[in-house]
Symmetry: C2
């Protein structure tokens, strides 16, 4: 049994609970009982509830950055445009396999905390930089190989991120079956950035 088994159990349970019930909606007692440990044990490993939350965010950051770098090490693309569409599809795929990560990032509390807590802000910036940079790199590559035509790679990358995020949110709201929009989303992005002069 590894030394940190209880600590990592706390982190895993806290991730699920913070993502699904928010910061104020999750109690430390609940985390403890889900992880099958005594309530006070959490405060041995994490100073405060906020400290636990930041640690959860750190593990999410590590996970996202790792997944994306793994994906782009293995995949090859014919053009910048194909790389962009591949990145969008992978983003949507990841949102399906790791729902908690993206649910957590949609919690408003995290951005309130980031305004006050520089470590939290740092982790958030790392995550967003990772996500935006991939779209931006693909767009810049596409501008060079002629597959993409946009005014600003950076701004377009941000708009595409907002778009993907918005679709993910629509789906988690359970009002529309946004899953059926994935194909349409990729097609719309293609129409938006494709170079028609080619």
């Amino acid at each position: 049994m590894p030394k940190t088994s209880k600590k990592s159990a706390i982190l895993a349970m806290a991730t699920v609970l913070f993502a699904n019930k928010g910061f104020t909606g999750t109690s430390m007692t609940e985390v403890a009982s889900m992880a099958d440990i005594a309530g006070a044990t959490i405060f041995y490993h994490f100073k405060t509830k906020e400290d636990l939350f930041v640690s959860v965010l750190e593990s999410v950051k590590t996970g996202i950055v790792q997944e994306f770098s793994l994906f782009f090490q293995e995949e090859q693309f014919d053009s910048g445009l194909e790389m962009l569409l591949g990145a969008i599809a992978f983003h949507l795929h990841l949102a399906g396999t790791n729902k908690e990560w993206f649910l957590l990032l949609r919690r408003h509390y995290i951005y309130e905390l980031a305004a006050v807590n520089p470590i939290c802000r740092r982790y958030l910036e790392d995550i967003y930089t990772c996500l935006v940079d991939i779209f931006e790199k693909a767009l810049t590559l596409g501008q060079q190989d002629g597959s993409v035509s946009v005014a600003s790679a950076r701004k377009t990358a941000l708009i595409i991120l907002a778009m993907v995020d918005g679709i993910m949110q629509l789906e988690s709201n359970n009002l529309y079956n946004a899953g059926s929009l994935y194909g349409e989303l990729v097609a719309s992005c293609r129409r938006m950035v494709e170079n028609k002069q080619q």
Copy 2:
């Protein structure tokens, strides 16, 4: 002094607090002190905290539906495409003048409640129907007058809603200055739906 002055003061303060701090993050005591009334007064007008929340949502629904119908009574558009871009711009404008409305709609609690409380679900559906239908009508009109070319007006309307929502969220996160993306957003939508054959 109108008879309902205290009731409407409670509603107004609750809207701001629920939008900015969420359901669990807002206490009835806080609402009462912000509205400058005794704590028990809230429970005279609203049965429970959840009841107050649903009443807040109802007033937000009424506000959004009213604003949009007013706008489209007064404005005239040359084409379906122009109507779509006008609707997007108005949506962004409204998000600036009534931040609380859209902050509230981004709270996860509201969708959890909607899964359990049919009245809450109804109000949410009314709001989303209002927002999506305007985009869809504009796109359908554009398909008829030849200014727009899309596969499905409905699906595209949902994607544009997700896009606008995503940009609004990016801005409220305070990580990027998304306000500078408004122009780019409208231009991107134009590229996405415009009929180039015309």
